[in-house]
């Protein structure tokens, strides 16, 4: 076995040594501990002993040369004596991986926003510029954020406008300032988010609902008497939409970057216009309801919406939205998708119009159906087919249709 002879460290802070004289020559036999060479350092001169018994095989550093501590000086071929047990190597301690610097918050909007403030606005999804700061120099403090959040939550739960918490800044002479209510703010944020993240595409089709009109005319009084509520066109539209969604479930889904999650439950949001805003309560599992059931659900939701009695559950969980813009007189509209849904359907006003039927002019009741859809999820083909399906079913409602 070949044994290395290395330059030893001959004192604290000694880093190198000079070979002064080789006491043994190449080929000579050496005994363990016998002096092998003379070495000189700036602190100590010494004879370096042989670490093993054998024959000096090779001299690697000649006399007069200076080498650092640990450098190989010679090689001994061990002969006869037992191989010297090497000392157990001191395992180098595992260098702990350099910790990654904590990722810096991405959403620093304002200077002087403290860590806790940044964290809170991120958690609650607030735009920092919305909050008025009471700290030094207008800094937004933790208290300011928490106060804002509490207010917003109160507003969402109550679902009625609350008077603005703070007095509005004074208006200039040529302007009137309307303070933004929490609902308005929420609507604004929602709309912005929807419009900014979803590539909206839009499609419109015209449905001939003459027979539906006749159906409703024929049944509305009886319905009113029996159910205590009005039978509008909306339940029919929702019914048609729901059936179409069953046929084209991709319209009842959510975009999730690397996947599209199709929702199995069909929860239809109904846009309800309020005096100074809008709210979209949801008919849960609308596909399980008959037209009458839908009518009842709609009436209930609208009534509670208008009287401020909707619960949080009423406004959550929608998978598709229907907006009866026609009730307000619109004949064509371009709705904004209620994100994170992927489609929104409007039923426009039913108007009597001359149309061509079998190459003859006829007066028919027509209604435009408009669909805004998320072009990431749905292409024109599917959107068209879906809207065709809605149109087809609406056009199929006639006197034989039972609302139950």
């Amino acid at each position: 076995m070949a044994v290395k002879v290395v330059m030893p460290q001959l004192g604290e802070s000694v880093t190198e040594g000079t070979v002064v004289r080789w006491i043994k020559k190449v080929g000579e036999r050496v005994e363990k501990y016998e002096p092998l060479l003379e070495v000189m350092t700036d602190k100590v001169n010494a004879e370096v002993p042989a670490p093993a018994t054998g024959v000096l095989l090779e001299i690697l550093v000649p006399e007069g040369e200076t080498v650092p501590v640990g450098r190989e000086l010679a090689v001994i071929a061990e002969v006869g004596a037992e191989a010297e047990t090497a000392p157990p190597s001191l395992a180098a301690p595992e260098r702990p991986a350099r910790p990654e610097p904590a990722s810096v918050g991405v959403d620093v909007v304002q200077q002087r926003s403290s860590p806790i403030v940044r964290r809170l606005v991120q958690e609650y999804g607030i735009d920092l510029s919305e909050i008025r700061g009471t700290g030094i120099g207008g800094r937004v403090t933790k208290e300011d954020v928490l106060r804002y959040v509490a207010e917003r939550q109160r507003a969402a739960a109550a679902v009625k406008e609350t008077p603005p918490a703070e007095a509005p800044p004074p208006a200039g002479p040529d302007e009137e300032v309307i303070p933004v209510s929490p609902m308005r703010r929420q609507i604004a944020q929602h709309m912005v988010r929807s419009y900014q993240t979803i590539p909206h595409a839009w499609l419109a089709m015209e449905a001939d609902v003459t027979r539906l009109v006749r159906l409703r005319e024929a049944t509305k009084d009886e319905f009113r008497r029996r159910e205590g509520i009005d039978l509008t066109y909306l339940p029919f539209v929702v019914k048609a939409a729901v059936e179409a969604l069953k046929e084209y479930p991709v319209l009842n889904s959510v975009w999730a970057e690397d996947k599209i999650i199709i929702k199995k439950r069909i929860n239809i949001g109904i846009a309800v216009a309020l005096e100074d805003g809008l709210i979209v309560p949801v008919i849960k599992e609308a596909d399980q309801k008959s037209i009458a059931g839908l009518a009842r659900a709609i009436a209930d939701l609208v009534d509670r919406a208008r009287s401020g009695r909707l619960t949080l559950d009423d406004v959550q969980g929608g998978t598709f939205t229907v907006n009866n813009t026609g009730a307000l007189g619109s004949v064509i509209s371009r709705p904004i998708i209620n994100e994170p849904q992927v489609g929104i359907l409007t039923s426009e006003a039913i108007v009597k119009r001359p149309v061509v039927v079998d190459d003859a002019i006829a007066i028919r009741s027509v209604m435009f159906l408009c669909l805004s859809f998320d072009h990431r999820v749905i292409d024109g083909l599917t959107a068209s087919r879906f809207l065709q399906a809605v149109k087809r079913r609406l056009e199929a409602f006639d006197e034989r249709t039972s609302v139950y």
Binding site: P115, I116, V117, G135, I136, R139, K142
Partner: protein, 327 residues
């Protein structure tokens, strides 16, 4: 329950421990018939005799060295350094010997030793009877450093220190000796070393303090309450090793931290607390971690207005609280 001063509570703890355990001995300058220059050991030599209450030569290093020897050989010495200002000659014995005995012998030898010393200013002590010296010791693994603020904790902590198998430095604020009074239960109880306490709960802002500064911080907090600032006061009690959990829990709640200490600002122990908070409670902070401490001058002068300018007091603490609250 009896109301006692800080010094009475300390004396009670010593006497009770000496009665409970014959291995407890007291040594230091003037601890015997004089009863200690602050009378902390009054009555002990009469009850326990000269062998257990030893008047030593004027030799701080030797006092601690002899105490170490006695501790190695089965006794539980409570050594007194007459004023913390005179502890410097003993630093070698404390830091190189007592603190490292267990570690360097891989657990074969250890020092169950307490070193008591009055510290702190506000009593016209000048440069050499007013110093805070805890910072020399609060970064030596192997030592424990304890600073009671009130009689209840003083008695319980001293008992815990005497029973501890490791060397404990026990610093008593000399101004608080007779100034701070409180209810102290009769009989035996322990306040464990290593736990900070909430001396006053609050919501808006945390003040961390020790020694006389705890009393002052509480006073400032009461005044701040009238201004609508609800201050939580954390009394460190054990400086080293520090109770990080209690400190961080409080700061995470309030998001604002003020560390108050009488020692010089730079490198004083409160600086370490501030560093811990800044590093480990950063996401919860609503304002920078602030410190209020003695100025960076060689010591507290004798002349009254200069001494007052040096010492933190409730008024200065309140001003700083306001500043932090308004940030």
């Amino acid at each position: 329950m009896a109301v006692k001063t800080l010094i009475e509570a300390i004396r009670d703890a010593l006497a009770e421990e000496m009665r409970r355990d014959p291995a407890v001995i007291v040594l230091g300058e003037d601890v015997g018939y004089r009863g200690g220059v602050f009378r902390a050991t009054e009555g002990l030599i009469q009850e326990f005799g000269e062998e257990r209450v030893i008047d030593t030569p004027l030799a701080e290093s030797g006092i601690v060295g002899v105490a170490i020897g006695a501790a190695l050989n089965g006794f539980r010495p409570v050594a007194e350094i007459q004023f913390a200002d005179f502890i410097a000659p003993a630093i070698d014995q404390i830091v190189n010997e007592a603190a490292r005995m267990r570690y360097r012998s891989a657990g074969e030898w250890w020092c169950p030793l307490v070193i008591r010393a009055p510290f702190g200013g506000g009593i016209h002590g000048g440069l050499y009877h007013s110093q805070s010296v805890e910072a020399y010791f609060t970064h030596v693994p192997g030592l424990k450093v304890v600073v009671p603020s009130n009689p209840y904790d003083a008695k319980g902590l001293l008992k815990a220190a005497i029973r501890d198998d490791d060397p404990v430095l026990y610093f008593e604020h000399k101004k608080a000796y007779r100034l701070v009074k409180g209810e102290v239960p009769e009989g035996d109880y322990i306040v464990p070393i290593g736990s900070a306490k909430i001396a006053r709960p609050g919501r808006h802002l945390t003040v961390i303090a020790y020694g006389l500064m705890t009393t002052y911080a509480i006073e400032a907090a009461e005044r701040a309450a009238a201004e609508g600032i609800d201050v939580e006061v954390v009394d460190l009690l054990t400086l080293y090793p520090p109770d990080k959990a209690t400190i961080l829990e409080s700061v995470k709640k309030t998001s604002r931290a003020l560390v108050v200490y009488e020692d010089n600002l730079t490198g004083g122990f409160g600086a370490e607390i501030a560093a811990i908070i800044a590093e480990e409670a950063f996401p919860y902070l609503d304002a920078p971690v602030m410190r209020l401490a003695g100025p960076d001058v060689p010591a507290m002068p004798y002349a009254a207005p200069l001494e007052e300018a040096f010492m933190p007091n409730p008024e200065k603490i309140l001003t700083k609280i306001r500043e932090l609250a308004a940030y």
